[in-house]
Symmetry: C2
Subunit: 282 residues, 2 copies
Amino acid sequence: MRTALVQSLPVFGDEAANLASLTAAISSVEADFYVLPELCLSGYDFNDREEAASHALESTSETIEALARVATERGAGIAFGFAEKATEAGTAAFGNAAGDAPTRRIYNSALLAFPDGRRRVYRKTHLFARERLLFDPGDTGFFVEEFRGLRVGVAICFDWIFPESFRTLALKGADLIAHCSNLVMPYCQRVDYARAIENRVYVATANRVGTESRGSPEEGGARSLHFTGESVLVAPDGAYLLRLPPDRSDVGVCRVHPAKARNKALGDLNDLFADRRSEFYS
Amino acid sequence: MRTALVQSLPVFGDEAANLASLTAAISSVEADFYVLPELCLSGYDFNDREEAASHALESTSETIEALARVATERGAGIAFGFAEKATEAGTAAFGNAAGDAPTRRIYNSALLAFPDGRRRVYRKTHLFARERLLFDPGDTGFFVEEFRGLRVGVAICFDWIFPESFRTLALKGADLIAHCSNLVMPYCQRVDYARAIENRVYVATANRVGTESRGSPEEGGARSLHFTGESVLVAPDGAYLLRLPPDRSDVGVCRVHPAKARNKALGDLNDLFADRRSEFYS
């Protein structure tokens, strides 16, 4: 299974330009599965919830499907992040009485798409910093889908700092964690080593590069965010199979082997999953 | 709070020599809390359960108390690993009918001792490799004790690979994890970075150095284990405050600040513990 990391530099708010550059990046390499960054069609740092909503797309929208198809029409799978607009019918499940007006939700989401038509949306469980003002907390939880013998789980950016995120995906059977990211802190690429080792899985962190300078004093204050690039793909034994540059768009491809992630044995006498003693865990 | 890591080179099976060298090491530096390696009085690689038993000590034995007192008589706390012999009365709790003959248990344990007389034993939760043939699995679970404003949790060696171990200690309030180790794999000192960052705690891994060559064909086969040294103390922000050499005994001291570990905030809008969403964790 050839897995590609696409490291991009989006133009804030320019969906068409971003779709074009991502399409070109995907088309530039042969792979079986592509991992793209978080919010890769819109850019990251919305001024407010209203602006986030104005760039958000329904998961079944034409643009989302167009990006998915760049991979699926080549016979490949893909995971990419996008701002999701979802209109939930008024039901008690969303805190509304049945029959209430529909509620508009905005999620920081990722689409997982395969050539057989499967589409599945993951909504970011752990929102970072100002995302808490912009997005609704994810309600999908973590899941795994199998594609040509590779079990893929999806996580988005800040999910990485909670060891429970990747642990949950690994316990649900993930061989590879497609980690769509817009990283601004310096930690994750280094912590991915631990995430791979402790779960014996492939960790594929696709990050973006560049700086976003946004906001007038009236728009939540002037802000500047620098994204750290260095997208990495780490093997179950901690080997960094890919590490992209810190400061420019790039695409990397390497092979992953589901069997290596499926084997949780450590020597003859230990198994990292069977040896868990959850009765002692908080 | 000055915290010391003692990195030792034990003589296999020579309790008196090891007690003497550990005493000298502890006495060589001023600290408020000392962390020593796993099984530091006996050495590590017993041929069989019988040999482990012959080197095991009761937690209240004179030798154990003598090592504890080297620190406590200086007004300091200490955590160190030892092979523990425990005789459990025959009760249903241990799988015996009440009134059965007492059961001898052998644990890979650590003593946590303070100048006020508190003594608490942690029994290793996750046994590594041949330890599974030598020791009973720990039954104490993870706990935290406070000493002069520092909340100390204890873990032993292989516990590190299970993120739940340090997570549980951190959720129980640990500021510093005293991690008594005999590391033979190359991963832990690097993974400690993640353990510190994800839990915002101090991680104090006291490791040993040297090689143990043991076992005739009749004694479980000839075996040679090399221990990796490089004891580390990592701060909640991922800074390596101490890193001892890979190949010789040494002692290092640095200051730790409970308030830094107590603060789980990340920026203005995140808190690493409050933001956990355990309803989505396996």
